[in-house]
């Protein structure tokens, strides 16, 4: 398996500098349902910020605001001083989002999925694009899948193709939605290394939404915790070892008590 360490120069350095993200008093509601409220944090250029929290806490929705895919109910997300949803940001900031389910184009082959962005943005000749695409596929051990279609891939492979597609974009801001879910431990470690090396070598700013505590501990510069629609904690990954907030402690180290009434109920029902 190829790892970034064995590929000293996986992708050419981005010409543009890294960008910072500023989330200011952000709230999002769908009708009467408040997803999150008054969330404020900033991600420095070149920083890896991991956002953790239980399922349904609004992490992915928050990531979509940063990606400019949704408009907040109140507050704002600024990227490099411009609104995340503005045309200016789209034009001037290379921003990639690795979707949880991959969001690959099913009608295109894996190769064409990766080549779409450089072709559309005229990032070189077809030979240069081929080189770039094949290199990204090799990094994620996907070299043999170039001519296959997404429907022929497993969930984990789709996730890797989505990450490879993001790498080809040479992003300044890389957003990941659960990048290591559905991946085996070795591939998860490779993804951790890729995220880390993109920061180290190319100064890419990363916002990672994840449940994976190991990922947060190994690569994050800072970790945020979103719980019950509120950002309850922002701090260093080391804080996770002995969290002050009991809710975070319970989330990270859940105590499974088989004597708990909820288990008895499941047992009775089955």
């Amino acid at each position: 398996m190829a790892s970034p360490a064995s590929q000293p120069n996986p992708l050419p350095a981005a010409e543009s500098p890294a960008v910072g993200v500023s989330v200011e008093a952000l709230s999002k509601s769908y009708g009467k349902l408040d997803v999150f409220k008054d969330v404020t944090f900033a991600v420095e250029p070149g920083e890896i910020f991991v956002l953790m929290g239980p399922s349904g806490s609004g992490k992915s929705v928050l990531l979509r605001q940063v990606a400019g895919l949704e408009t907040p109910t109140s507050g704002r997300v600024m990227i490099d001083g411009h609104d995340a949803g503005s045309a200016e940001t789209r034009e001037h900031v290379r921003r990639a989002l690795v979707f949880q389910a991959g969001a690959l184009f099913n009608s295109l082959s894996v190769y064409d999925n990766l080549a779409l962005y450089p072709r559309e943005h005229q990032m070189g000749t077809e030979d240069q694009i081929r080189e770039k695409v094949m290199r990204a596929l090799e990094i994620l051990s996907l070299g043999k899948t170039a001519e296959t279609f997404p429907s022929q891939l497993s969930g984990g492979m789709k996730k890797r193709v989505a990450i490879a597609r993001a790498l080809v974009m040479e992003p300044q801001l890389l957003l990941y939605d659960e990048p290591t879910s559905e991946l085996d431990p070795v591939m998860s470690a490779t993804i951790d290394e890729i995220i880390g090396s993109l920061r180290k070598e190319y100064h890419v700013t990363s916002v990672v939404v994840s449940h994976d505590c190991d990922l947060a501990l190994s690569i994050a510069d800072r970790v945020g915790f979103l719980m019950d629609g509120r950002l309850v904690h922002v701090g260093k990954p080391a804080d996770l070892r002995e969290p002050a907030d009991p809710r975070i402690a319970e989330f990270l180290n859940p105590k499974i008590d088989v004597g708990n009434p909820r288990f008895k109920k499941i047992h009775t029902e089955t």
């Binding site: 400019g68 789209r90 969001a103 099913n106």
Partner: protein, 250 residues
């Protein structure tokens, strides 16, 4: 009140989609492969069914005309009746209805599926506007293919009518007499007006189908609901617009 608001929102978003797509018209030469692919899908794959249906519509029209006219001794006008009816009305409307069923439904299903499975979101984050990549090539292709399909439908329908006139005993009108009457009363303007109508219908159908597809929300079940809505709205619009466009052209 809610339905009126919904209709107005639909009209507004469709017009916005058209304007956004047109703002990328300069990128069309770079998208030639997508344009050709859409021409193939809209034109070539629809051609067989257009040919079969227009042949039989021309035939039935001649048969009904012959049956109605036999008591009046004006059989020689069957050619002009079939010619005018197909060129001005039946040709463009039939092609538009076929394009709705054959192409419009497929466009909505494809775009709705892309929306539901976040492919459209992926395009947006890649700064590839869906209007440029998904809507514009389809609009350009339908603009080119609708007049072509309409002319082919007219010609096949006219020949269908000619065959029926020749081989139906109670009509027995020679192709020469049939086409002489057709040429005498069917002018180029009639054919051209039909092509204009087809153009309007085609653009509206593709716009409506793209807009409904791109605004699909929810899960796979909504894809089917969107396709049904797109086909129904398109068919209603074809018939409503038919009246207004005819009124303008006459």
């Amino acid at each position: 009140m809610r339905q009126i608001r919904s209709i107005l929102e639909g009209v507004g978003s469709t017009v916005q989609l058209l304007l956004r797509a047109l703002s990328y018209v300069a990128t069309l030469p770079r998208q030639s492969s997508r344009f050709i692919e859409q021409c193939y899908l809209i034109g070539y794959t629809t051609l067989p069914i257009v040919g079969i249906l227009s042949f039989f519509i021309g035939s039935v029209l001649a048969l009904q005309a012959g049956y109605s006219m036999q008591n009046f001794g004006v059989m020689q006008f069957i050619g002009s009746l079939v010619g005018l009816s197909l060129a001005r009305e039946l040709g463009p409307v039939m092609v538009a209805i076929l394009v709705t069923g054959r192409v419009g439904s497929a466009i909505t299903a494809e775009l709705a599926s892309m929306k539901v499975y976040q492919e459209v979101d992926a395009l947006i984050t890649m700064n590839i506007p869906p209007e440029r990549m998904l809507v514009l090539p389809r609009l350009a292709a339908v603009a080119v293919m609708m007049p072509v399909l309409t002319v082919i439908a007219n010609i096949v329908g006219w020949f269908g009518g000619a065959m029926i006139c020749k081989y139906t005993a109670f009509i027995s009108l020679s192709p020469k007499a049939y086409f002489a009457s057709m040429v005498q009363y069917t002018k180029f303007k009639d054919v051209f007006d039909g092509m204009v109508k087809a153009e309007v219908f085609g653009l509206v159908v593709v716009l409506v189908c793209c807009n409904i597809g791109l605004n699909t929300r929810g899960g796979p079940r909504e894809i089917g609901a969107s396709v049904t809505r797109a086909v129904v709205v398109s068919l209603i619009l074809i018939l409503v617009l038919d009246y207004f466009v005819t009124k303008i052209l006459i």
